[in-house]
């Protein structure tokens, strides 16, 4: 959920853009991270761990912890907490470790 009124901050959001999350069309704002855009529409589970299949979500939000890896435009292991959203992006849940092309 997005904050509309805040006593101190005035959020200057970028242009509204469309992106795809596992094929589903969603809206977000340019300039925010993919993680922020997903969180804003209620997506908190970003994937599952490989061996124990435990749900994985955002933890540090500044690119330290690698808990938020997803496939973006076909590229695996993207830290979506620091990768900025762009119009038309395809964001997909990652299965396995991903492979180099």
């Amino acid at each position: 959920m997005r904050i509309t009124e805040h006593p101190i901050l005035d959020f200057k959001r970028g242009e509204e853009v469309t992106f795809f999350y596992d094929g589903q069309e969603l809206k977000g704002f340019e300039g925010e991270t993919i993680a922020a855009a997903l969180h804003a529409v209620g997506v908190r589970v970003l994937g599952h761990s490989q061996t124990m299949h435990r749900p994985r979500g955002l933890f540090c939000a500044i690119g330290n912890c690698s808990s938020c890896l997803m496939v973006v435009n076909g590229e695996p292991n993207v830290r979506i907490c620091v990768e900025k959203l762009k119009s038309g992006m395809r964001v997909e849940t990652q299965q396995g470790k991903g492979c180099l092309k």
Binding site: R13, A36, R44, P55, F59, A61
Partner: protein
């Protein structure tokens, strides 16, 4: 661009310490390059909406993000400072070459002096299901809320009543999020009582001598069980409470981000008062690897106010060692050292000072 970038002073990290170091060194005449992994410098100041304490020299009364903007402007208007955003330092080699990754390219930099100002990362604590989505570091909650304007959830349990736990709880209330409570394993509140009082007045309970027993939820957090601790920090049976929350926020401290210092072969020491392994350094912040300085949380976790002064001190010392500011540098160094003593005069500062004494005592070095 030439194959190897030559520069007088390389600063790794563009947060409060790094930016302060950059303008201090450039003001004395040195050429400076700052590496910043994010797309904009400022570090964690960007998400700090509270007003700073200290004295006017450390921007007391201004909000953290305003201070961040001021430091960025100061660097932008100084032609001696260059900032490379989206660039992550990778290694510091024996011959002094620093490698970095920026925009998908492998970069090489050959600096005369290095200032490491990489900051700190959040600590984790152990409890069942601590990996569930909805369990966030306090910094992550601030990023979502104060940078992107997105609430982390509906109802939050805050773990840790240090300054970060208290401040972020208040920021959650400002964003319209309910805070179910703040728990703190220690018998007393760690942060400033002025922050604690504000939160209690807003109706949020602060439970000292309380810990989290477990988190639960199917795919993400649905609740937490907490309990009271006795004087030996053991759980008192029968005191368990079940809290329905969808977010658990961890504000349990920070660890210095010292990987580069380890890799550069600085002599390191574990100092609990400074929150982890830190490099040995003299009072001018130079490590055992000559020409490599540290400033800010990487040299011991404190607050942004002291990080800025340490940054300034390291910047002055690095420039002075290159022959800049011979007439003014000693005076500026003395001023910065006096400011640091002033900032560390309070009770929290005593712990830091105890830690720093251990650091300067080379006899006890580990590693």
């Amino acid at each position: 661009m030439p194959k190897v970038k030559e520069i007088e002073i390389l600063i790794i990290g563009g947060g409060p310490a790094g930016l302060s170091a950059a303008s201090a060194a450039a003001d004395l005449g040195a050429s400076v390059l700052v590496l910043e992994r994010d797309d904009k410098p400022g570090g964690q100041l960007v998400k700090q909406t509270h007003k700073f304490f200290g004295s006017k020299k450390q921007y007391a009364g201004d909000r953290g993000y305003q201070i961040g903007n001021f430091l960025i402007e100061q660097c932008e208007k100084n032609p001696k400072v260059e900032v490379w955003n989206e660039t992550t330092a990778l290694g510091i080699y024996e011959d002094g070459v620093v490698t970095a990754e920026g925009q998908g390219k492998h970069l090489k930099i050959n600096p005369e002096k290095i200032i490491v100002a990489t900051g700190a990362s959040e600590k984790m604590i152990a409890f069942p299901n601590n990996d569930l989505p909805g369990i966030y570091g306090a910094g992550a909650v601030q990023t979502l809320m104060n940078v992107y304007g997105i609430v982390p959830g509906q109802r939050v349990l805050m773990i840790g009543a240090g300054n970060i736990g208290l401040i972020v709880s208040y920021q959650l209330l400002q964003a319209g999020v309910e805070v179910a409570g703040i728990i703190e394993a220690a018998p007393t509140i760690g942060g400033y009582l002025v922050h604690a009082s504000k939160i209690r007045r807003a109706g949020v309970p602060i439970l000292t001598s309380h810990t989290i027993i477990e988190a639960y939820g199917q795919e993400s957090v649905e609740g937490a069980v907490i309990g009271k601790l006795d004087e030996q920090w053991q759980l008192i049976p029968g005191t368990e409470q079940d809290l329905k929350v969808d977010v658990i926020c961890l504000a349990v401290g920070l660890s210095p981000l010292t990987e580069l210092c380890f890799q550069a072969d600085c002599q390191m020491k574990y100092v609990p008062e400074l929150s982890g392994h830190v490099p040995l350094r003299n009072k001018y912040l130079e490590t055992t690897r000559l020409g490599l300085y540290v400033a800010g949380d990487v040299s011991g976790v404190e607050e942004a106010s002291s990080a800025m002064v340490e940054g300034r001190l390291a910047g002055i010392c690095a420039a002075y060692s290159l022959g800049y500011g011979n007439d003014v540098a000693p005076k500026l160094q003395a001023e910065a050292l006096a400011e640091l003593s002033e900032l560390r005069a309070g009770p929290a500062g005593q712990k830091t000072l105890k830690g720093i004494i251990k650091l300067m005592d080379k006899g006890g070095a580990a590693c």
